[in-house]
């Protein structure tokens, strides 16, 4: 039996006083794998310390702790969640007294107190609340997000920010994710290697049960819950929006599911299972999170300091049947809607009509679009098909561009002759 000494108060004080000898060693002399052009020494160390990084999401506790302990000094953290009692088993920066408080704020305060000299700025909200000016201040972004939607958003934002004139606009994105015993870490250099949108097909879709199984012969407790969620709610409470955080709503679903399970003699429907199925809660295992967060933070460290080569570009970790990891280089997708065709600037006269613009697109060498469909974020400018949409958008053809878009607005142009859409940023010049 191994005895682990308790960490006494004096020991803790000593830890804080320790110079980061090992870290400094690593950054002060070249190693066999380090880049020949790399200059080790104080410059690298200060580059690390001044790197502003952004972490977000569910792997947040691990990532924040790792970043702070690897020498990053200026860290921002975003999380929209509040602390739930069920988080306490693995999100070690939170205590029972913190339940109900903002995750970002509590985590930031804890790590700031524990690791001397680190500045952590929390933001309690969604990554989508922030704009490009905000993301521009960071050296890189490290994400442990829990949804594909949020990943696609940050990916598209960082890809769009890349500006050839400005080296600082390229923000490496390190993305980690876990599900039970499985996980992945990837390094994305926006516009340089394959982005999250390029890899979208690789994500396993959420396992779904055929609707007819739910409606006719359920076999699992989860089938009864899905039935209550999809069918019974619609039938009885159509006019209310289901709020999965409302205990009354979950209780209602639970009781409906329980009654159905009894009809079919299926044991196992519980309140917490109902919550799990309806909110699509994925089992989180503390140690898988630790492994993936560690991989992500080591990549962040290597990118910030250039001390060793970084991950190219996808590492999968599979711990559900033995342990297996595999690293491979995912390729860019030529027709990726996010990084396949970056928006080009197109100078236009705001007084020209939409028809004039379409005619000019047909003449442009790179496009030569015969039947283009155009839209901005807010408007369908002109659609070739379906017919109803063509009729509805045809009046736009004779309008001036200045009536349809504002200076600097981006439009997407697709054409049946091309698998990929073109994006243009319209710059007004009279």
């Amino acid at each position: 039996m191994v005895k682990i000494p308790a960490c006494s108060k004096t020991m803790r004080q000593n830890i804080d006083k320790l110079p980061r000898t090992y870290l400094d060693n690593l950054l002060s002399k070249p190693g066999p794998a380090s880049d020949p052009d790399w200059v080790p020494g104080p410059e690298t160390i200060s580059a690390l310390e001044s790197s502003k990084v952004l972490g977000a999401g569910g792997l947040g506790c691990e990532i924040l702790k790792n970043l702070a302990l690897s020498g990053f000094k200026d860290i921002h953290v975003i999380d929209m969640d509040t602390i739930d009692v069920s988080n306490l088993n693995r999100q070690f920066l939170f205590r029972e007294a913190d339940v109900g408080k903002s995750k970002a704020e509590v985590a930031a305060a804890f790590v700031e107190k524990r690791v001397k000299g680190v500045k952590i700025t929390p933001y309690n909200g969604k990554i989508q609340d922030k704009d490009e000016d905000y993301y521009m201040q960071f050296k890189m972004v490290i994400c442990g997000l829990d949804s594909i939607e949020a990943r696609r958003w940050i990916n598209a934002t960082l890809v769009d920010m890349v500006d050839m004139e400005d080296p600082e606009s390229l923000k490496p994105l390190i993305d980690g994710g876990t599900e039970g015993f499985k996980g992945q870490a990837r390094v994305i250099l926006p516009t340089m290697n394959s982005c999250i949108e390029c890899q979208l097909d690789m994500h396993a879709p959420r396992a779904a049960v055929p609707l007819c199984t739910l409606a006719t012969i359920p076999r699992q407790p989860s089938h009864c819950i899905e039935w209550a969620h999809i069918i019974a709610w619609e039938e009885h409470r159509k006019d209310e929006v289901l709020d999965t955080d409302d205990p009354e709503h979950i209780t209602w679903l639970y009781q409906k599911a329980l009654a159905r399970a009894q009809d079919f003699n299926i044991p196992g429907v519980t309140y917490s299972l109902t919550q799990g199925v309806v909110k699509n809660i994925i089992p989180a295992i503390a140690s898988t999170n630790a492994i993936i967060a560690a991989a992500c933070c080591n990549e962040a460290f290597k990118i910030a300091t250039s001390c060793n080569p970084f991950l190219q570009n996808y590492m999968m970790y599979s711990g559900d049947e033995g342990v297996y990891t595999y690293t491979f280089d995912t390729e860019r997708k030529e027709d990726c809607p996010v990084c396949g065709n970056l928006a080009r600037n197109l100078t236009v006269n705001p007084n020209m009509t939409l028809q004039d613009l379409i005619d000019s697109l047909g003449e442009r060498a790179e496009a030569q679009l015969k039947k283009p469909t155009l839209r901005s974020e807010e408007r369908s400018l002109y659609s070739q098909f379906p017919q109803s949409l063509r009729e509805q958008t045809a009046p736009n053809l004779s309008k001036k561009l200045s009536e349809l878009v504002v200076d600097g607005e981006e439009i997407g142009v697709s054409d049946p002759a091309f698998t990929i859409a073109f994006k243009y940023k319209l710059i007004f010049v009279s």
Binding site: A47, P172, L211, S380, S383, E409, A421
Partner: protein, 186 residues
């Protein structure tokens, strides 16, 4: 960090991107994909199907009308509401029939049992696949995956009787004490 940037410059030496102007809202990946999918419907919709957009600027929400020209549902006009979210094509479109109809694979609330709308959806599928699938449900209603159990049982046990009940329901009549919406003669 500097190293990455020099790699980038190497990679894009010939690219001639220009400086950035003011940042504005961007067309989303979901919008671009739907725009492309809609353009590809040209060969599919034909005479029997049409789309309508309550708000033409919002292509993520529209109605599809199917008017079968053969099969048991010939002569009817069936409306489906399509609601696509920003996570498309990772998430499938949400499709519901807006009328109460008598069909083994569509329940009285308008839920549709079509594999590619749920368990077999993949991002490589497109709106065309979904629309062809819906059309197929009217040509070949399927009794083995029922959502409306009575209708499925009816189809299985007595095909001719089922056909008569479909006609009754389509003209706004009652089948097995359930009233249906009139969907013909528009």
């Amino acid at each position: 960090m500097l190293k990455i940037w020099s790699m980038k410059q190497q990679q894009q030496k010939d690219a001639n991107a220009e400086g950035a102007g003011p940042k504005k809202k961007k067309v989303t990946a979901a919008q671009l994909r739907v725009q492309k999918d809609l353009a590809e419907l040209e060969g599919t919709l034909g005479r029997t199907m049409k789309t309508s957009f309550p708000n033409p600027d919002d292509i993520l929400n529209f109605t599809l009308t199917i008017e079968p020209d053969e099969g048991m549902y010939k002569g009817g006009s069936f409306h489906f509401n399509f609601a696509i979210n920003q996570n498309f094509p990772h998430d499938p479109p949400k499709v519901k029939c807006t009328q109460k109809i008598y069909h083994p694979n569509i329940d009285l609330e308008g839920n549709v049992c079509l594999n590619i709308l749920r368990e077999d959806w993949k991002p490589v599928l497109n709106l065309n696949a979904v629309i062809v699938g819906l059309q197929f449900l009217f040509l070949e209603p399927n009794a083995s995956d029922p959502l409306n159990k009575e209708a499925a049982e009816d189809l299985r046990s007595n095909r001719e009787g089922f056909k008569r009940n479909v006609r009754t329901s389509m003209s706004g009549g009652a089948v097995k004490h359930e009233n249906y919406e009139r969907v013909i003669g528009k």
